[in-house]
């Protein structure tokens, strides 16, 4: 039962972390509080579903199409819809309020498009749902894939942000966009890049979770909020934090469900989140000001 | 002169770094005390400890014989300790008058309404911002913001005023104006602790100085004596000022 709980927690946690990583880039670096984030996740789920059911394309293969597309769409969204707001923003708060309002509109637009194209029905398909035996327990292969991607993306992002020049530049933009310009960082490019990378991660998450979760055009907000919780708990802009927070929440959930009461799982995850913030107001890895 | 502030054995650590180490000194009522030291020696930290922005790890701070170490800043401010900040802090979206009224409205004997407005304008005039009452603080230059900060601090009717490099960045003429402003405060009976790297100002204003280095107090005494202290010269002043 213990290994079951751990494994199940790790896989769910991996999913939370993966989905949150994109948001932490978008909010942490580009300073866009993207309320439409979950809609991008679900849109990718729909596309993967469509490619699978009508084209017989494996979701893992469709990643090769969907991820670049997600990157490109996000890049355009930033370039066309958000850049005017970034330019007119006089302060961080102003940009925050503006981005909340405009991505709220974007949320409706993307959701509206999904409703028009796919309707409000529940959608579900099954791929790679084969049982895999590890450590004496069974788990669906598709969930392991998600965990694998989470760890891979987490490591890649961490390395990218901490060790590469471009990564440090993105972090610099996160800290102070004006000063970043003074050290030759093209701030608009960096912000668009981070936003697009975040979008690419979002759609990756969407494709992967579509293999085992039932979704419809209306549940994007669930992913947005979950991602926000993870991002905040990990510390804004901190990829390692997001990974850790996601996995902690996943484990907490599965342990409570297994050993305490499934009725309390969500309550306890929120309680853990709140407790972390009470002790560390800047998140697990954040720096309290 | 009676003792207004007594700092005894105060220590403050940030992680592994001891920013202030068992520092003790006194400030007498009515004096203008210079607090000197190289960059990173703990001067601002000391100001933060006195004003309640930081809590000491050890030691005591007595203001008018009452222990204030670790009290919350708003209580210390109401007791009559006002300060300015090394990196100016004004409320950008409020105008100058409102910024000063912030100092008036919450002190022990608060002023509010038109009385506060009149007093705010008077203080603005005193720091050289006459006629700027309606200017948003964010649109003012750095130096003007510093003036504004001082007016706000004066609004608290302080008995002890902490100035953290308030004169930094003034040119010669402005410096002279600033020095005489601080002197006039002293004449009004306000006790001042000033952190400053402008030696000319220290020489002309401060009767006594305390010098810190690496968190510890390395010299205390009359300005002339302190400036001649070889330890101070080598750690802080350099040969030019010797």
């Amino acid at each position: 039962m213990l290994t079951n709980a751990i494994l199940s927690g790790l896989t769910m946690g991996g999913m939370y972390a993966l989905v949150a990583m994109g948001l932490t880039l978008q909010y942490g670096v580009s300073r866009i509080m993207n309320l439409a984030y979950g809609e991008f996740v679900i849109a990718a789920s729909f596309v993967a579903f469509l490619l699978f059911t009508s084209g017989g394309l494996s979701p893992l293969v469709s990643l090769l199409i969907i991820v670049p597309a997600g990157f490109a769409v996000s890049y355009l969204v930033y370039g066309i819809l958000l850049t005017p707001l970034v330019r007119r923003a006089r302060s961080r708060e102003a940009l925050e309020a503006d981005s909340i309002l405009s991505t709220f509109g974007l949320l409706f637009i993307v959701q509206g498009l999904m409703l028009v194209f796919f309707g409000g029905n529940y959608t579900s398909y099954s791929y790679f749902n084969t049982p895999v035996q590890i450590l004496g327990t069974t788990i669906a292969a598709n969930r392991l894939v998600v965990l694998g991607f989470a760890v891979l993306f987490g490591a890649a992002c961490y390395f990218f942000l901490m060790r590469t020049r471009t990564g440090v530049a993105l972090r610099a933009v996160a800290v102070d966009p004006i000063a970043a310009g003074l050290v030759a960082v093209d701030v608009r490019w960096a912000a668009a890049l981070a936003f697009a990378l975040g979008g690419a991660i979002a759609v990756t998450g969407g494709v992967l979770v579509s293999m085992f979760l039932t979704f419809n055009a209306n549940i994007g907000v669930v992913f947005t909020m979950k991602a926000l919780i993870v991002v905040i708990m990990g510390g804004v802009g901190n990829v390692a934090g997001a990974l850790a927070a996601g996995i902690i929440l996943g484990l907490v959930e599965s342990f409570v469900a297994t050993f305490v009461d499934p009725g309390l799982t969500i309550a306890v995850t929120y309680a853990v989140f709140l407790a972390v913030l009470l002790v560390r107001p800047g998140g697990l890895f954040g720096t309290a000001k | 002169m009676s003792t207004l502030l007594q700092v005894s054995g105060v220590t403050k650590r940030f992680g592994g770094l001891t920013a202030v180490r068992e520092a003790s000194f006194v400030v007498k009522a009515g004096e203008i005390l210079g607090l000197l030291g190289p960059n990173g020696s703990g001067k601002t930290t000391m100001m933060n400890l006195i004003s309640g922005n930081l809590r000491p790890d050890a030691g005591g701070i007595a203001f008018e014989n009452t222990e204030i170490a670790g009290r919350r800043p708003h209580l210390i401010a109401r007791d009559g300790v006002a300060r300015t900040f090394q990196l100016v802090r004004v409320v950008g979206e409020m105008n100058a008058r409102e910024n000063v009224m912030a100092g008036l409205a919450f002190r022990k004997s608060p002023l509010w309404g038109s009385a506060a407005e009149d007093e705010a304008d008077r203080l603005l005039e005193r720091v050289g911002l006459a006629g700027r009452a309606q200017t948003p603080a964010a649109d003012m230059t750095y130096i003007d913001q510093k003036r504004l900060e001082l007016a706000r601090a004066l609004g608290l009717k302080p008995r002890l005023l902490l100035l953290d490099e308030w004169l930094a960045g003034l040119n010669q003429t402005e410096l002279e104006g600033g020095v005489s402003l601080i002197r006039s405060l002293g004449e009004d009976g306000v006790t001042v602790i000033m952190v400053e790297h402008v030696m000319a100002a220290i020489r002309s204003l401060c009767g006594r100085c305390v010098v810190m280095n690496a968190g510890a107090i390395i010299a205390e005494g009359s300005t002339g004596d302190v400036m001649a202290d070889p330890a101070v010269v080598s750690a802080y002043l350099g040969d030019e000022h010797a």
């Binding site: 769910m12 029905n121 529940y122 099954s126 788990i139 039932t214 799982t265 | -």
Partner: protein
């Protein structure tokens, strides 16, 4: 006299309830309007009147539903109002239907208070009945199986923590305990739970003969998925809402075989066959095998009561609704005078070779035989 019948409705086209509404409610409203208009309209007295629709989205909010129904009644002045999706919104709009005298034929509300509500609002009809009827019908089936020595005493039950799940699980628990079953697992899980593996793992370790989940669509699919991956195959595997959806069949194909749930139909009934075919033709997808049928039957009853009374007068139509008998996809039905529900529905059904066959009440015409035990899950693809 008027040229058309104005029919209004407010449903959740967006928001949390949209999944349910788009499955069971909206397609049937569209189908019904399409059929009537295709046939030239409703016969009202001596003229045929086409239907003109006024529709709103309640965005899954009770407050929006209330306001929209007020709007339909007072601004749009529609002749009849079709009901919103779900228990909460039907209760929210109940007082307004009542205030303006509209008959309220709810096809997607399960509530133990159905009898009370029918008394409180005399023009209201709660076709899906009470949670108790579903739970009790199922427990009766279990009792019989135990008598036949096919299953033991041990039952595991999981339910969603909202009104529906709690009403059903409460009724189920009482019925099970009264009949001497042992609940080896009895837990709820909150709405929005994404990870169901812990529940299935734990239940599997207990190895009960019967697993019951009073669940909602995403969890119904998730539980089935996990049971299959983890190789949990009890003799009776019961999951809640969405099991009777075409989605379930499409998703699980052969693996759906033997799964038990609420609802069910008689697949050999001609009317049922025709309805399914027409539904598919007009809306592009098959109806679910539970609430869609009640919803559609309710619409047929409304149409017939208008035709029988020969008027659009709400009073008179309501009178006919209360007392008449209607020829519907559920067969000939009349609304139980006491509590205004349809007595003639299947409460338990099972997927059998691609059709969700109604089993209980066993004495109802066209009821099928339980396939027992549930076949092994086929190997996953």
């Amino acid at each position: 006299s008027q040229e058309s019948v104005r029919i209004g409705y407010v449903v959740s086209k967006t928001g949390a309830n949209a999944g349910g509404a788009t499955t069971s409610t909206i397609p049937n409203y569209e189908l019904w309007v399409h059929e009537i208009n295709e046939a030239g309209g409703i016969q009202v007295g001596d003229q045929k009147l086409k239907i003109e629709v006024v529709e709103y989205d309640d965005r899954s909010s009770s407050e929006e539903a209330v306001r929209a129904v007020e709007r339909l009644a007072t601004q749009d002045k529609v002749d009849f109002i079709l009901t919103p999706w779900g228990t909460g919104n039907n209760l929210a709009v109940g007082p307004i239907f009542d205030k303006y005298g509209y008959p309220q034929i709810a096809g997607t509300s399960v509530t133990d208070r159905a009898p009370d509500l029918a008394k409180r609002w005399p023009n209201s009809y709660w076709l899906l009945g009470t949670g108790g009827s579903y739970a009790e019908g199922f427990v009766d089936l279990l009792v019989k199986l135990r008598e036949e020595g096919k299953i033991g005493d041990e039952v595991a039950m999981a339910s969603i923590a909202d009104g529906f799940g709690i009403e059903l699980s409460t009724a189920g628990r009482t019925a099970l305990q009264e009949n001497g079953f042992k609940l080896v697992y009895d837990q709820t899980y909150p709405l929005g739970t994404q990870d169901l593996a812990p529940i299935v793992n734990e239940v599997k370790a207990l190895n009960p003969d019967v697993f019951i989940a009073f669940s909602y669509p995403p969890d119904t699919l998730g539980l089935t998925d996990q049971a299959r991956v983890l190789g949990f195959n009890p003799k009776i595997f019961y999951t809640g809402v969405a099991t009777a959806f075409p989605l379930y069949k499409d998703r699980f194909k052969d693996a759906a075989n033997g799964v038990v749930s609420l609802g069910g139909i008689d697949p050999n009934d001609e009317k049922v066959k025709a309805y399914i075919a027409k539904h598919k033709e007009v809306t592009g997808k098959e109806p679910d095998r539970w609430a869609s049928f009640m919803t559609y039957a309710g619409l047929q009853a409304l149409q017939q009561s208008i035709e029988q009374s020969g008027t659009l007068d709400k009073e008179k139509v309501s009178e006919v609704l209360r007392t008449g008998t209607f020829d519907t996809v559920l067969g000939n039905i009349s609304f139980d005078n006491e509590n205004r529900q349809v007595p003639n529905i299947f409460t338990v059904g099972q997927w059998q070779d691609g059709e969700f066959v109604g089993l209980v009440p066993t004495d109802k015409e066209g009821s099928g035989e339980l396939v027992f035990p549930k076949p092994e899950w086929p190997a996953a693809q």
